[in-house]
Amino acid sequence: MSGAGPRSTPISIDEVELAAGFGPVALRSPILAASGCFAYGQQFDAFMDLRQLGGLSTKGISPLPRHGNPLPRIYETASGMLNSIGLENVGCAAFLAEKLPFLAELGVSVWVNFFGTDFETYVECARTLSEGSRRAHGDGGIDVLEMNISCPNIKKGGIEFGTVPEVAHRLTKACVEVSEIPIVVKLTPNVSDVVAMADAVKQAGAAGVSLINTITGMAVDVRARRSRIATTYGGLSGPAIKPVALRMVHQVAQALPGFPICGMGGIISGEDALEFLMAGAHCVQLGTINFSEPGAALRVTDELRGLMAELGIRKIADAVSTLEPYPVEPPHAESRPATEPEPKPKPEPKPEPR
């Protein structure tokens, strides 16, 4: 294949700094846990030192508690899984009273994923969470309100919030206005033009975007002649969707340089995380992998640190949005030109099998 990549000089593990910046939000590491895959954090206390996380995003919170969908709610597919949990959650009040105090103590970046069932309840939820957090914890409570406008389970209007730029713009603006806490909008991949969506929420004052939520999918039980999911469709997550997530992160990073992006979708290794950073994410979240490997976030953090040392990348900022183009092939001609361009000194070979 044509040429090899840029040369890199390994550095020592201790020289690697994982501190990351996500717009106004400082993170001690770019590795966070994703919404819906980490509950409200407590369960993971048994498996790892939560303080080593960059942060975590809670299960999506709505103004009132919600019960979930009928079963079955999940099904495994090739390198991925479908879920239709139904945004079950304890509601704003119980979250603030019972869950936030534990999270506020941790000292990691607390992202609270939230949603409403219509325009008003979205705004109400943002206001309640922002006010409740400031009242009880000052600056030390919720760091980011991650607004989920990508939920396929909300009947009325839900789809439009996530797929029509103007609607998303209005909603974001209204929530930003009532919240003292930065609002990051979590976008759905189920759109023709993710850049238009990101641009719309950016113009509305969003502090950044989270990319991507699950892709709507389905599986069929041919013996029972039914969908594998009671609500027919579910959201696809896991390694299967990583290429789609990376593409969307890259599209938005190219179109809106500097606008903070939190990347996610199928990350299970430090190398995966670095792919997202290089494509343009400022930090990443781990979702599905937490189910099979509750300590995954720390393993991935270690792997990322090791890989950065190997590749001589000192700081996270030195990785973000740093992809290079391929060298241009010599122009095509019927036969090799007599005066072939001087062979340029070739870059160091990267590890290749041959």
């Binding site: 895959c37 980490f38 019960h67 969908n69 390198s79 879920n83 079950e88 190398e271 189910f291």
Partner: protein, 280 residues
């Protein structure tokens, strides 16, 4: 190189994730296997109660994402435990092909098990079918070890004789056992619920206090539930739902229940539920 994923965490609390190796894979009749797993250090599965389970995962790459749930068959000692399985789909097919020394990752023990046999308590009628045997096999083992075996009786059903495994253990422990096969090749002919019904009627006639503890295919559990409700005896069902995590975070394993909320969770609230509670 693109990652497969493996981990090695120390167990920090009773429920943890830890590494084991396949120590023994023992084929039984009917396509069943006993898989004995061993960890380097002491592991918390040693204290597992009947009905508790583990999430198991081999070094299987990215396609099979989640662990698979298996009831603990025997907590052998501080380092070893075993499970019973039968090939069902891709994960269990990979387990069939494993050989001693192969690494696996275990999360557990998870969930809440059956009510313990109480020395002077009601007679526990254990109803087992298929891969639902392990919790009841372990319940019988503990009852026998506590020399209260008189208080448990096993009713164990299958399609044919080859589906009834590990019955020699029950014999050795002196647990009264009724076997039933649909093809009549061993024990009574028919479903196991028929002798259970007869037993309940006998108990009712004698005014004897009994409890039902069942684990097996969903249709069997539905039948046991109805028997228990009809005879108004305490009935505990060990349920099985699709699980991604096993420790209460994915909310995938919902069980419809009566109560303040419409759903409980098989992994953390169960897998053992009271029959009256289950909204079936």
């Amino acid at each position: 190189m693109d990652g497969g994923f493996r981990i090695a965490y120390d167990s920090r609390v009773a429920t943890a994730q830890f590494q084991v190796e396949v120590a023994v894979k023992r084929p039984l009749t009917g396509g069943y296997f006993v898989l004995e797993l061993a960890s380097d250090g002491a592991n918390p599965v040693a204290d597992a109660a009947p009905g508790q389970f583990v999430m198991l995962r081999g070094d299987w790459g990215r396609d099979l994402l989640n662990g698979r749930a298996f009831s603990v068959l025997e907590p052998i000692d501080s380092r070893r435990f075993s499970v019973l399985f039968k090939v069902f789909g891709r994960g269990t097919a990979l387990m069939r092909d494993m050989t001693p020394g192969d690494p696996m990752t275990v999360t557990g023990p998870l969930g809440h098990g059956f009510p313990q046999p109480r020395p002077a308590g009601p007679t526990q009628i254990l109803v087992a079918g298929g891969v639902g045997l392990p919790p009841l096999h372990l319940q019988a083992r503990l009852a026998a070890a506590a020399a209260t075996s008189a208080s448990v009786e096993m009713f164990y059903g299958g399609r044919g004789a080859e589906d009834l495994v590990l019955t020699e253990d029950l014999e050795r422990w002196g647990v009264p056992t009724v076997l039933a096969t649909e093809d009549g090749s061993r024990g009574e002919q028919g479903r196991v619920t028929a002798p259970v019904r007869a037993r309940l009627e006998r108990a009712a006639a004698a005014g004897e206090a009994v409890e039902l503890l069942a684990c097996g295919p969903t249709p069997m559990l539905r039948a046991v539930r109805e028997l228990g409700l009809a005879h108004e005896v305490p009935t505990y069902l060990c349920l099985e739902e699709m699980m991604a995590c096993g420790f209460g975070v994915c909310l995938g394993c919902a069980v419809p229940v009566y109560g303040p909320k419409p759903y409980k969770y098989c992994c953390t609230d169960g897998p053992v539920f009271e029959a009256r509670e289950v909204r079936w």
